[in-house]
Amino acid sequence: MATIDFKNVQKSYGEVHAIRDFTLHVEEGDFCVFVGPSGCGKSTALKMLAGLEATTGGTISIGGRDVTDAGPGKRDIAMVFQNYALYPHMSVRSNIGFGLKMRGQDKAEINRRVEAAAETLELTDYLDRRPRALSGGQRQRVALGRAIVREPSAFLMDEPLSNLDAKLRVQTRSEIVNLQKRLGVTTIYVTHDQVEALTMATKIVVMRGGVIQQIGSPETLFAQPANIFVAGFIGSPGMNFFRGPVEVVDGRAQTRFGEQVVPLSVAPDALRGGEAIFGIRPEHLKIGGDTGTPVALGLVESLGTEKILHFPTPEGQAIGSLQKVIGSDDAGRDSATMLARVIDDRRYTDGETVRVALPEGKVHVFDPETQKALS
C-alpha cells in the first residue's frame, strides 16, 4: 500500500502535448480511475506511472519515493494490460511466478505464493496449461494473478475488461473491486467507460486533451460536474443541455425552458450576460405532470420498466454542436434532442404530447464562454 503523487507532470512528443500539468494525489488503498474519451492521455499517464513512458517534466512519487527516473521493475508496481500480455511460451504457473523469479525469490516460496494466488482466482486446475488453452476470462484472471502474487505497492490496470463480453465484464468488474478491497492495495485503473468508472472508483479523474477536467468521488462528479464536458461525459445517458435567457426577478435568477419559468440556485452576480447554458440529467426531468412545457415525444426506447424518451429541445434553445464540447464518444448525440429517463408503468407512444418540467435545484448552470459550472 502506498500513496501516489503526480506533481506538474508533462508529456510531449515534439510539438504535441499529450499530458499537461498533471497533478494528482492518490491516498493509500484508493481505487482511482482515470476516465476520458480516446486520446485524452489517460493511458499515457498510467504508462508514465509504470515507468514505461518517460516524463517530459514534473515528478512522480510512489509511497513518498520519487520514482520519476526509476525503471518499471524498480517501482514496486504490478500492471494488468488491456490485452493481458501473458507470456505465451510459459505455463500459467510460470506466468504468475515470473515476477517473483526475476526478484530472486526461492522456488519453494514462488510455488507457495503462485498456488495461493491461483486459489484466490480459481485457477488451480489450470496452472500447468499454456495461455492459449484458456478462455478470455481465464486469461484475464491469470493477468490479475501475475499482479497480486507480487504483493506490490500499487496495481496499475489499463482497460483490463475491454476484451471481455458484456456479461463477463460486469462479473469481473465486481471481482476486481472485491479483490482490491480485500488486499487494500492502491489501484490506478484506466478506462474510457464511465459506467466502469462510476461503479468501481473511490476517486475518479476525468481527463480530456491531456488535461485533468475534474477529480472527485463518483457522487461528486455526478452531482457537481465542474464543466460541460464532465457533465456530458459522466452519466448514462449524459446530461441534456440547452441555451436559455438569464432573468433576475426580485433578486433571484431564473431562466425559461419553453413555457416554463425555471428558478436557478445561482446568485445573479455569478451570471454574466443575458444568456447561459443549462444542463439537466435525463433522470431528473419530470414527465407527464400538469405543469411544464408540452413536447411531442419522438423515439421511445423501452428497457422494460425503464424507458428513455426522446423529445425536441424547445425552439431556439439548442446549444449547437455537442460533439465539440463533449468529444467523440457522444458524437451521435444531437443537441436538438433531449432525453428523459423514466421508471414507471405508463405506456408512452411516439408522437404523444406530454409535459416536461425541470425541478428546481436540479438545473446546472454553465458559463457559455468558459464552459465552467456556475451552480
Binding site: M79, A85, F98, R146
Partner: protein, 277 residues
C-alpha cells in the same frame, strides 16, 4: 464439411506428385550419376536405375579427398555466419521495430538496398579490406563477407516478425523486473522462435551454398577450403569425375537436410497465440 469429389482428390494428388517429381528430379539425377558406371554416364536413352550401382564411390571419395576437412570448414563457416547474422540482425531488427528512431524508416530501407548489390560487386573491395586486415585465407573472411549479404535481409525478416509481437509483452516483462535486454532474451526471442528459425535457416543455406567468397578468399590456403571450393576442384582440365562430384554433392546436401529437420518444429507459426485476448 463438404465431401471432396474423387476428381478433386485426384487433382490434388496429381499436383502434389507432379510438383514433388519436378523438385526431386535433380536429386534423383545426382544419385543416378553418382552410382552409374562411367560407361553408362552418357548413354541414350538413359537408364532408370544402373544395372550395377557403384556404391563404392562414396568410400573412394572419402579415401582420396579431404572431404571431412571440407565439411568441417563449411560447418564452421555456416554456423559462425548464422550466429553472427542472427545476433546483429536481432538487435538491429528489434531497434527498428520498437524504437521511434529519427529517420528509422529510411534507415531500414537503406539497409535493404545493400542486399540489392550483387556479391560480385562487393568481392573486390572486400578482398582489399581483408587483405589489409590480414584475413585473406582465414575462414573469418568468408564468415564476415557472407554476413554482409545476410544481415540486411535477416534484419528485415526479423523486423517483420517483431512487429507482430505485442509490445505489451516486453512492458509486462519490464514491470516484472526484467532489464530491456532481459525482456528481449526471456520473452521476445522465445515468442519469435519461428521467425528466428526461418532466419537461421536462411543464413545457414546461403552460407552453405556460397562459392564466390570462399573461392576468392580461401584459394591459397587448401586446408581452409569449404565443400563447394573442394568439389569444384574435382572438375579437371581434361577429365571430369562426375561420379565423385555427384557423390560429394549428395553428401554435402545431408547437413542442410538435418538442419531443416531440426528447425522445422520452430518454423510452425502461431506460438504467440494466447498471449492476448
Amino acid at each position: 464439411m463438404q465431401k471432396r469429389s474423387y476428381l478433386g482428390t485426384f487433382g490434388i494428388y496429381a499436383t502434389v506428385i507432379f510438383t514433388c517429381a519436378v523438385l526431386l528430379f535433380p536429386i534423383y539425377w545426382m544419385i543416378l550419376t553418382a552410382l552409374s558406371p562411367r560407361t553408362q554416364l552418357r548413354e541414350f536413352p538413359p537408364r532408370f536405375w544402373p544395372d550395377d550401382p557403384q556404391w563404392g564411390v562414396f568410400a573412394d571419395l572419402l579415401a582420396t579427398q579431404p572431404f571431412g576437412l571440407w565439411m568441417w570448414n563449411t560447418i564452421l563457416v555456416a554456423v559462425a555466419t548464422m550466429v553472427l547474422s542472427l545476433t546483429v540482425g536481432v538487435l538491429a531488427a528489434y531497434a527498428l521495430s520498437r524504437h521511434r528512431l529519427r529517420g528509422g524508416q529510411g534507415l531500414g530501407l537503406f539497409i535493404l538496398t545493400s542486399k540489392m548489390l550483387p556479391a560480385t560487386l562487393l568481392v573486390i573491395p572486400l578482398f582489399a579490406i581483408f587483405k589489409s586486415l590480414g584475413l585473406v585465407g582465414s575462414l573469418w573472411s568468408v564468415v564476415i563477407a557472407q554476413s554482409t549479404l545476410i544481415v540486411p535481409f535477416a534484419t528485415w525478416m526479423l523486423k517483420g516478425y517483431f512487429d507482430t509481437i505485442p509490445p505489451e509483452l516486453e512492458h509486462a516483462a519490464l514491470v516484472d523486473g526484467c532489464s530491456p535486454l532481459g525482456a528481449l532474451v526471456r520473452v521476445v526471442l522465445p515468442v519469435a522462435a519461428p521467425g528466428l528459425a526461418a532466419t537461421a535457416l536462411y543464413a545457414f543455406v546461403i552460407s552453405w551454398s556460397d562459392f564466390l567468397y570462399a573461392r576468392t578468399f580461401l584459394t591459397t590456403s587448401e586446408s581452409k577450403w569449404t565443400l563447394n571450393v573442394g568439389i569444384a576442384t574435382l572438375k579437371g582440365e581434361f577429365v571430369t569425375d562426375w561420379n565423385t562430384i555427384m557423390a560429394a554433392s549428395l553428401m554435402a546436401a545431408v547437413p542442410i537436410i538435418g538442419v531443416y529437420l531440426f528447425l522445422e518444429r520452430y518454423l510452425v507459426g502461431g506460438l504467440s497465440s494466447g498471449s492476448d485476448k
